[in-house]
């Protein structure tokens, strides 16, 4: 046993280092190239920037209203996350803490959503959004994020609610607390880990969503960052320096959040599958 592990260890390291390099290098290249002029990139794509400037970022801002896209992305993501967590907490509380005969059926209905390729419903969705007057409204995106985030959020929250002892709320009820009070001041404070997970999962998919804004948003002023990238690449494809700057800016918020809470991110994104 000793021998085989001594032989295999260096081999293991070669593999993980090689793959880690392939995983990280393109991202590193993206950051690096965003500080280079297009001429520098074309001449020496692998080299370091000759001098550190933020010119590419200034050019980018003058070409596209990135701050507007950024605000739209923030509004859509934050509103979606808050609402999906509130709505699903209420629903999961109902399913997990009460024993109505239809609760299992409702739960199953929610879980079904994890198997539905919702993109295939885009034609009815487009007609629905048009009839609701939500084309070119950020609400179209918010509703889609809530709806598509619901199945996994329900799975995680219902599971967590079920692990909490009933005595907790009985004590509060003795003191005359109603359902909302019990949920808000007794159960939710104890659910921080699960809430953290669902916030992260929903935030990532809302922030990165590209398909629905592609269909529902055509006005520049209402675009989120991913569709904004589409118009950047469509209209200014020659200036590679600012293209890299755009990609970097689009990714930066998620990267920063990830380094603050990498553990929760990795647990969150795999939560639905590991269960």
């Amino acid at each position: 046993m000793k021998n085989s592990s001594m032989w295999s260890k260096p081999f293991y390291y070669v593999i993980v280092f090689a793959v880690a390099t392939i995983s990280l290098y393109p991202i590193f290249l993206m950051f690096l190239s965003s500080f280079k002029t297009s001429a520098e990139i074309f001449k020496d794509p692998l080299g370091l920037p000759t001098k550190f400037t933020l010119d590419t970022y200034r050019t980018l801002m003058s070409k596209i209203p990135f701050d507007q896209y950024f605000m739209n992305s923030v509004i859509v993501s934050v509103t979606s996350v808050v609402l999906v967590v509130v709505f699903c907490s209420l629903a999961a509380y109902y399913i997990a803490r009460f024993k109505f005969s239809w609760n299992n059926a409702i739960f199953f209905l929610f879980l079904l959503g994890m198997m539905i390729p919702i993109k295939l419903g885009i034609v009815p969705l487009f007609i629905l959004m048009r009839d609701l007057g939500l084309i070119n409204s950020l609400w179209s995106l918010i509703f889609m994020n809530i709806a598509t985030g619901t199945p996994l959020t329900m799975l995680i929250l219902t599971g967590f609610f079920k692990t909490m002892p009933m005595e907790l709320e009985e004590a509060a009820r003795m003191d005359g607390a109603g359902n909302l009070r019990v949920l808000w001041s007794v159960l939710l404070p104890l659910m921080r880990p699960a809430l953290g997970t669902v916030v992260i999962v929903n935030f990532i998919s809302a922030w990165n969503d590209f398909f629905f804004p592609l269909i529902f948003i055509t006005e520049k002023a209402k675009m989120t960052i991913p569709v904004g990238m589409l118009s950047l690449f469509g209209e200014h494809s020659a200036d590679w320096g600012s293209l890299f700057a755009g990609l970097t800016l689009a990714s930066l918020p998620m990267m920063i959040l990830f380094f603050i809470a990498s553990k929760q991110f990795m647990e969150g994104l795999t939560a639905g599958a590991v269960k």
Binding site: S23, L90, M115, L120, V123, L128, T148
Partner: protein
């Protein structure tokens, strides 16, 4: 006196607990989920039986749209062409992404130093928006100024340089490999969770029996990893047959060059939201038929996978 107050408040609490207002709690989630997930997918199925004029639904036509989809050109050959690409998408991801992820997870499980760093490194691409991934790699794979060809040149491998996305022979494979780059870390985490849930006593017992190396892998690890392998298979399957964003970002809605990177979802997008392919006003009916076929195909295959998983678990 005290007891009366207590019973009163207890009764009040019970009453609130059982009050009808509790039934309002699941309503917001049900309405939004029902309206924007359940309704559209069911409507999409029903739309496939109607003829369309632009975005307005006209009359019930039975299976006509399905017949058109499979027997009328260019729809018929486009369907077959895209379907083959989806299958390659799935197969290549199973081997290149999940195969590698399995090996990497095993190595991390065997405790290399810096396991946390490697997990983060593999996972990092997963944080990018798919559109960012597509555009970033489009720049890297650019034939003239892209990093990959430049790198190959520096290594003296000029004969390997090519227009990765411009050549029909390499375009689709390049896109699928980019997708592997994106999804690898997720697979590693799922497989790692699988390895870590194997009870330690089982491994110890097998070792005492003298099992090692490949025997260990075949007799102990693989059978116990079946649930994680199945989960990744199902997720990869659904994602492969839904593949849209990366192709759209890198090769446009026509699956350039010459539909060599076309997938069913991209074909569907073309039918629904127009381009030179659709043109005709009945495209939406045919598109809905395509959506229905693809939806049922994904659903049935997923059910079969899941059934297979359950059976396997029982056998163990």
């Amino acid at each position: 006196m005290m007891t009366t107050v207590q019973t009163a408040s207890k009764k009040k609490g019970r009453k609130i607990g059982k009050s009808w207002t509790i039934h309002l709690f699941p309503i917001p989630a049900l309405i939004i989920y029902g309206l924007f997930v359940l309704y559209p997918i069911l409507a999409a199925l029903s739309y496939s039986f109607y003829s369309f004029n632009g975005f307005s639904r006209e009359s019930f036509v039975g299976f006509d749209n399905f017949v058109t989809l499979f027997t009328t050109e260019p729809y018929g050959s486009m369907f077959v062409n895209a379907f083959k690409h989806n299958i390659l998408y799935f197969a290549l991801q199973m081997v290149a992404m999940n195969g590698l992820a399995f090996i990497l997870a095993f190595i991390i499980y065997k405790k290399v130093k810096g396991a946390e760093f490697f997990k983060i490194a593999f996972f990092l691409p997963r944080l990018l928006s798919v559109i960012v991934v597509g555009f970033l790699w489009k720049l890297i794979l650019n034939p003239n100024f892209g990093t990959l060809n430049m790198l190959l040149g520096k290594l003296g491998l000029e004969e390997l340089q090519r227009a990765w996305l411009g050549d029909p022979n390499t375009a689709l494979i390049s896109i699928i490999l980019v997708n592997c780059w994106f999804g690898l870390g997720f697979g590693v985490l799922i497989f790692l969770a699988g390895f870590q849930s194997i009870p330690g006593e089982l491994i110890e017992a097998a070792k005492l029996d003298g099992a090692k190396g490949m025997t260990m892998l075949r007799k102990i690890y693989l059978p116990l990893m079946v649930p994680s392998i199945m989960i990744m298979t199902v997720l990869t399957f659904i994602q492969s047959f839904e593949a849209f964003e990366l192709v759209y970002a890198m090769q446009g809605s026509m699956g350039e060059p010459y539909y060599s990177t076309d997938t069913l979802a991209v074909f569907f997008y073309r039918l629904a939201f127009g381009s030179s392919t659709s043109g005709s006003s009945d495209a939406l009916g045919v598109g809905s038929a395509l959506a229905a076929v693809l939806f049922l195909f994904i659903l049935i295959c997923t059910m079969i996978f899941l059934k297979f998983t359950n059976k396997k678990e029982v056998e163990m």
